[in-house]
């Protein structure tokens, strides 16, 4: 049997008055995949998820489930279920009644018996590891438990697609990590398509099979996490995913997917992300850079700050071509001079010659 749960989005557009939240967006989410929609807040990712769920109505475009157009169906008639950011549990119902709610909404004749409902609620609570909490009320649960209940509640109707709207963002770091792994396990166990909305790049890259990066109502790139990290297709994706240093450089020649670039007098071969001969922005990842003795690298820098990240220290340095981040094993005192070196094949060249900027610090 081929897996079900493919979502096809064609030309979906949404406007709120003057503001355009989504620009005629196309996206195919393969059946059974763990798909993340990643982007900064306000990029339209939650709007897109709500349109898929049927909780928002698009101005244009269609949504299809396994090839069937469901654009005009209300949420209660879509084979999708949703996990909300702030759980949205029913406060007046017990945990078991919350989880079982989806089994009580069908027309009377098609409704499962009380006995069957009991069994399935128990199965679902078991799946999320809360078998002992069925009699509690939502106000008596921790955040992590509440979100597990929300997951169980959304899965009880055996949806072909589970939609998750930033389900971990309201939780503490440790709970977030535990629940992240649990979601992965549940995904593997059930084979349901997961569409996971997040603004946390680490979260998206660590659990998804496919990531769609969104910016201002448009999809910047859809690819597997490694491709997203190693070859971000656009400058936005490059800036949004992980830390890196952007240098203004000059492209000397382009060919065969590589660009011959010059940064601070050093010529090397960078991956080509659509540049032409002339000014360009070159991204160098911290792991491509090496700290060497001052004067012996391609570039000299002065250490501005040294932050501890557990397995490494991250140095923020200033150089003559702009700020630069690199990773070292031992701490370096601010004010120290050092050299920065990189291999002959390194970095990615993006069109544009604006001032150099440093990517966001990875939390």
């Amino acid at each position: 049997m081929t897996p079900t749960g493919a979502v096809g989005i064609r030309g979906i557009a949404k406007r709120y008055g003057e503001v355009t939240a989504l620009h005629a967006l196309d996206l195919d989410i393969p059946a059974g995949s763990f798909f993340s929609l990643l982007g900064p807040s306000g990029c339209g990712k939650t709007t897109l998820l709500k349109i898929v769920a049927g909780l928002e109505v698009p101005d244009e475009g269609t949504v299809a489930a396994d090839g069937v157009d469901i654009t005009s169906r209300p949420p209660e008639r879509r084979p999708f279920n949703m996990v909300f950011q702030h759980y949205a549990l029913f406060p007046h119902l017990s945990v078991a009644d919350n989880v079982g709610f989806g089994l009580t909404t069908a027309p009377k004749r098609e409704r499962p018996s009380d006995a069957e409902r009991g069994t399935r609620v128990a199965q679902m609570l078991d799946l999320v590891g809360l078998a002992h909490l069925g009699a509690r009320y939502p106000s008596e649960l921790s955040g992590g438990q509440a979100q597990r209940v929300a997951v169980a509640r959304a899965l009880i109707n055996r949806p072909s697609v589970l939609l998750l709207d930033e389900p971990l963002s309201a939780l503490d770091r440790n709970v977030r990590f535990a629940l992240r792994e649990e979601l992965l396990r549940i995904h593997q166990e059930l084979g349901t398509t997961f569409v996971f909305v997040t603004h946390d790049q680490d979260e998206a890259l660590s659990i998804s099979q496919l990531v769609g990066v969104m910016n201002e109502g448009r999809l910047e790139q859809v690819a597997d996490p490694q491709t997203i990290y190693r070859s971000p297709a656009t400058l936005f994706t490059a800036r949004f995913i992980g830390a890196g240093s952007f240098f203004v450089g000059t492209v000397r020649s382009v060919g065969a997917g590589r660009a011959d670039v010059e940064v601070a007098g050093r010529r090397f071969s960078a991956a080509d992300a659509g540049v032409v001969v002339g000014a360009a922005q070159v991204l160098l990842r911290p792991e491509e850079l090496e700290a060497v003795a001052a004067g012996s690298g391609s570039l000299d820098g002065t250490v501005e700050a040294c932050s501890f990240f557990g397995s490494y220290f991250e140095l923020l340095t200033t150089t003559k071509v702009g700020p630069c981040r690199l990773r070292v094993r031992e701490p370096v005192a601010p004010g120290a001079r050092l050299g920065i070196a990189w291999p002959d094949r390194a970095g990615i060249a993006y069109p544009g010659g604006a001032t150099g900027e440093v990517g966001a610090v990875r939390a």
Binding site: A53, G54, L55, P74, P75, E76, F80, N81, M82, F84, H86, A88, L89, F90, P91, H92, F101, G102, T105, A106, Y137, S139, E140, R153, A154, N157
Partner: protein, 273 residues
């Protein structure tokens, strides 16, 4: 430097005494054994309660007031809740206009409402009766119900309704199984307040009741002649009935919603004001 607290404390104590001592005196004399109102009361007895419960006019007044209060509560809560839904869930220009309009009776002098009702009854040749009493009470209590229920609806997480829709519930199911149970304490609290207002309303009732006598009107007619000690017993009943009802309601709400009294009417009123 330590700030002196005694001026504020003294003021607060004086204010509380000013409010509660007269109430206490009335209740004390309600249980007075003697037959004149001189201090101190002479012994404890239920003679005044026996006296008034033996009085047909009192019993009839109590019955009329209770009927009017219950009917007013029921009508005001249905009309007010429906109006609150319309105002909060369909926030267009008409709704805003309607909301301001619905607050007007709270600000109108009851005397004016009473005179207006008399004029209206004359114009349409309606005789005073229980129905006109209830109509007058519904006019002044519905704004409170709208205020309380609309405030609850505004302070309410809409995503639980989306979650219910997402889980297969039709809009009607959402209303019956999610929205109404969640706002039930506010609706019930609003109804209790409407009943309490109706129970001791006297100004408007004076114009709409004709020969029917409510309990407050009975008290007034008694006081018009002499200061009768039995009035203290009636006042005690008028005081305790709403207090007991509101107290029981708060207890029920607290038990129902765990530690916090979600949507306690007083809280809603404070928020709405």
């Amino acid at each position: 430097m330590r700030r002196r607290r005694w001026p504020l404390t003294t003021a607060a104590v004086l204010l509380l005494l000013f409010i509660y001592v007269p109430l206490l005196v009335v209740v004390l004399y309600g249980f007075n054994g003697g037959s004149n109102l001189s201090w101190p009361p002479q012994g404890v007895s239920l003679r005044w309660f026996r006296l008034i419960f033996g009085d047909d006019a009192f019993r009839s007044g109590l019955r009329v007031s209770a009927t009017a209060a219950l009917a007013t509560g029921a009508i005001a809560v249905v009309v007010g809740t429906a109006a609150a839904f319309a105002i909060v869930r369909r926030p267009n220009r008409v709704a805003r206009w309607f909301e301001s309009g619905s607050r007007l009776p709270v600000m109108l002098p009851p005397l004016f409402i009473g005179i207006a009702l008399v004029a209206a009854m004359k114009t349409f040749a309606i005789d005073p009766s229980m129905l006109t009493i209830i109509a007058g009470h519904v006019i002044i209590t519905t704004p409170f119900v709208i205020l309380i229920v609309a405030s609850r609806l505004r302070n309410y997480d809409l995503t639980v309704e989306q979650a219910a829709r997402d889980l297969g519930a039709t809009p009607r199911m959402v209303l019956r199984r999610i929205t109404l149970p969640l706002i039930a304490p506010a609706i019930f609290g609003a109804m209790v307040i409407a009943c309490a207002i109706s129970f001791d309303e006297v100004l408007i009732t004076n114009f709409t009741s004709g020969t029917t006598q409510t309990l407050p009107l009975f008290v007034l007619s008694r006081l018009r002649r002499t200061i009768d000690p039995s009035v203290n017993a009636v006042a005690t009943i008028l005081l305790l009935v709403p207090w007991v009802v509101v107290g029981l309601t708060l207890l029920w709400q607290r038990r129902r919603s765990g530690a916090a009294a979600v949507g306690a009417p007083a809280e809603e009123l404070a928020r709405a004001a």
